[in-house]
Every structure is written in C-alpha cells, then in structure tokens.
C-alpha cells in the first residue's frame, strides 16, 4: 500500500458517523476513499456546499459544480449549496467536526505552518486559517518528513497558519496527539521502531504507555 494511502486510511478511522468534515487539497482529499460504508460523513467544500461526492467522471461533469480546488465534482443526494458567507459561518462557527490538512511544519504546541515559505512560495492561506481555527478537531495528515528533513518540530519556523489549534498528527510512521504536556505518540507503524520515529521527529515525543501499533493493514 502506498504511503499516502496508508496515511489517508488511518485518518479515515478518526471520522464518526454524522461528522461534518472538510478535507484539504492533496493527501487529505484521499481520506474520502477510505470511509467505511456504514459511516455517513458530510463533506464540506469551502467554496460553498455540503454533501460533496466523488470527483466527476467525464459524463458527470457539470460546469457549475467544482470543489475548492477547482476540480469538477459531484454532489450527493441531499446536498446543499450556499454562498461564501455561510460557508465560513459553518467553518468559523464550529460547525465543522473535523478538518484534515497537510502541513509544511507542525510543532508540539499544535502550531501549524502550511501557507507560505517566505521568498519562495506564497500561494496564500485561502480558507485554511479559518478552518484550523474554527473546526472542532484539526488533524494534520502528511508524510513524516520532507526530503529527509523533519516537519514535526519543537517550534515552527515558517509563518503560522494558526497557533495551538492542531489536535492530531497522522503520518506513515505514527499517530501523535498534541496535549498540554507535549506531543504524545499514541500509535506507531508496525514496520518501524520508536528510535526510528524519534530520529525523524525534531519535537520531543512522549511515548504513550499504552502505545499501539498503527492500524494501516489492508
């Protein structure tokens, strides 16, 4: 199983029946592929609807229906469209149960940096700042390192998206929870050691005394 699929699959286990969920572009979008049939989640698309379905097949393309990445998608039965004010009332108002986003950096205090690299990459924050502040639960889903460099840090160095809002970090190496006491490793991938993940993480990892093996089996 592809690394990214593994991460997405593990994230999917965090979603509960009835949850309103916003999935960021890229890896987070893949989470939708792993939601069990008996769990109904409501995907919110910040450009203005709830009840997003899969990417549109060629025959399903509707020029008036795109997701927040500008991709033609479908809408489920019972979907609802709205304008951007309502979209962010939903987001900032605490009506999104879970948001899943990628990160350039995340740190042990739950700070997140995912919107710019000064002098290099300045795409803008889009709706990310509102989502991270407003969602009840913020899950960072990403590959553990970038070209061998740690992304889970003692303290983010890039401009922040939000301060202290991240709840959970899920990578191919493990599941880490941001707590008052620090970053706690709750689950670890079956094919690595605690030493491996510590080496790949700049932030100090507190090892849960009930540390579990991360369920990513196919």
């Amino acid at each position: 199983m592809d690394i990214r699929d593994r991460i997405a699959k593990r994230v999917a286990k965090e979603l509960r029946d009835g949850d309103v969920v916003n999935l960021g572009i890229g890896l987070p979008t893949m989470v939708a592929n792993f939601i069990p049939d008996d769990v109904e989640i409501h995907l919110q698309s910040e450009n203005g609807f709830i009840g997003m379905g899969p990417i549109a097949g060629e025959a399903e393309v509707d020029k008036d229906l795109v997701n927040a990445g500008g991709i033609y998608v479908t809408a489920k039965r019972g979907a609802a469209f709205f304008d951007s004010t309502m979209s962010f009332s939903i987001i900032r108002g605490g009506h999104v149960d879970v948001t899943v986003l990628g990160a350039l950096q995340v740190d042990k205090e739950g700070n997140l940096a995912n919107w710019m690299i000064p002098g290099k990459l300045v795409p803008g924050m889009g709706g990310a700042m509102d989502l991270v502040v407003g969602a009840k639960r913020v899950i960072v889903a990403m590959e553990h390192t970038a070209k061998g460099r740690a992304k889970i840090l003692e303290k983010c160095t890039l401009p922040l998206t939000a301060k202290g809002e991240v709840d959970l970090i899920i990578t191919e190496m493990g599941v880490m929870e941001v707590t008052q006491g620090g970053l706690v490793l709750r689950e670890i991938a079956s094919d690595i050691t605690i030493e491996d993940i510590k080496n790949a993480t700049e932030a100090e990892l507190i090892i849960d005394e009930n540390l579990k093996i991360m369920e990513v089996a196919e």
Partner: protein, 217 residues
C-alpha cells in the same frame, strides 16, 4: 427602469485605477464576458477584490496576465503563477486575507457594520497592525469593512428586475459582493421575466443590481 444593457454601455463606468469586486471561486461563477470587456477596453491600474486570481487563461487571472491590475486583495494566488511572478518582480501588489475574513469584510461593508471580531489570524502574520479585542477571555482581531466602486457578478438566472439565482457552486462570493459596491453589474447566463424565479428562491434581490448584461454563454 430598464436594467438590461449591452456591454458597450458600461464603458462610461470604467476608469483607470478603480476598485473592482469580481465574483467567482477559481473562475467558477466568474463573469467571463465582463472580463472580456475589461480586456477589450484595457482599463489599467485596477485594484481587484476577489477570492483568488483564477488561472492565467481563465477568470480574473486573464486581467493579471494582461497587466491591467495594480493590486489584488485576495485569499489565494497559488493557481495563477503569473500573479506570483509579478508580485516577486514588484509589478503587482498582493494583499492576502484569510478567505473567511475577506468575505466577512465585504459583508460588513454591505451591511453597514463598522467591523467585526474574528479569531482567525490570531498568532499569525495576519494580526500585524490590527487592533486586538478581548471578549469573554478570548482574543479576537478587529477587522474592518472593504468596499468597491464596481462589482461584477455572474448569475445563472437573472430576471429583468435584477433578481439573481445562482446554480450550484457558482454562488460563492457573488451575493455578498452585490451588497458592497457603488455600482453592481451582473452577467446573466440566462435572462428571464420578472416572477420566473420563485421569489422565495431569489438569492440576490434585484435592488442590489444596477445593470444586467447577457453573457456569452
């Protein structure tokens, strides 16, 4: 009052240096025919308030590529590399605002509010230069209204009185922009008679709309 006009009749309202709001989200729900017209007339030094700068060949991005934009006030420029290039070259000014804050600033202007308190941006670069206000033990940023000289919208169905109905995800920033500009022009995909949109389904009341232009479809 006849609101349906030809694009050409808009010429008198276009001025170099004016501030525009343009609806749409990654070019979905963006009035492409009105952008055609801005390009044709080659109005310059525009300040554009918009969710994003679209793509180089689609939506608001076309105005950037055609070098008609002095400044964009937006939440995202990542899908149009030309905006980033001009920004790095010092040819365009880019003011980035969180999407939820941007839409709310527009709403505040249209709704007669002097500002609003949002938690978004606290502890980030976004808070620089802004007043912080503590309410119930939580810190918020005071964000101020933003308005425009002219708003250009796209409606799926527009009746002759200017009432607008938007299909699916094309709605986005269009309705709120209708409230916050001195002059409001909507590009209609379809123009219908008054009453053909069920009054309970109208999204933008016609009183906000000054002119209607039939889109190229």
């Amino acid at each position: 009052m006849e609101k349906i006009i030809s694009k050409e009749a808009l010429s008198e309202f276009l001025k170099d240096g004016m501030t525009l709001m343009i609806g749409g989200f990654l070019a979905n729900g963006t009035p492409e025919s009105l952008i055609d017209f801005l390009i044709e007339k080659n109005v310059k030094d525009l300040v554009i308030i918009c969710n994003d700068t679209g793509f180089p060949d689609k939506g608001i991005g076309r105005l950037v590529v055609n070098r008609q934009v002095k400044k964009v006030i937006t939440s995202h420029i990542g899908t149009n590399s030309e905006t980033g290039r001009q920004m790095n070259a010092g040819e365009i000014e880019v003011q980035l605002i969180p999407q939820g804050t941007l839409v709310e600033k527009i709403r505040a202007a249209g709704s007669g509010l002097g500002g609003f308190l949002t938690p978004t941006g606290i502890g980030t670069m976004v808070e620089e230069g802004k007043e912080k206000i503590l309410v119930d033990g939580k810190t918020y940023l005071l964000e101020l209204p933003i308005k425009a000289d002219l708003a250009l919208l796209k409606g799926s169905k527009v009746d002759e009185k200017g009432n607008i109905w938007y299909n699916k995800s094309t709605r986005n920033f269009n309705p709120v922009m209708a409230t916050a500009a001195d002059l409001v022009v909507v590009e209609a995909e379809e123009i219908v008679k008054a009453g053909e949109i069920d009054p309970s389904n109208v999204v933008t009341p016609g009183i906000f709309v000054d002119y209607i232009v039939k889109g190229r479809g």
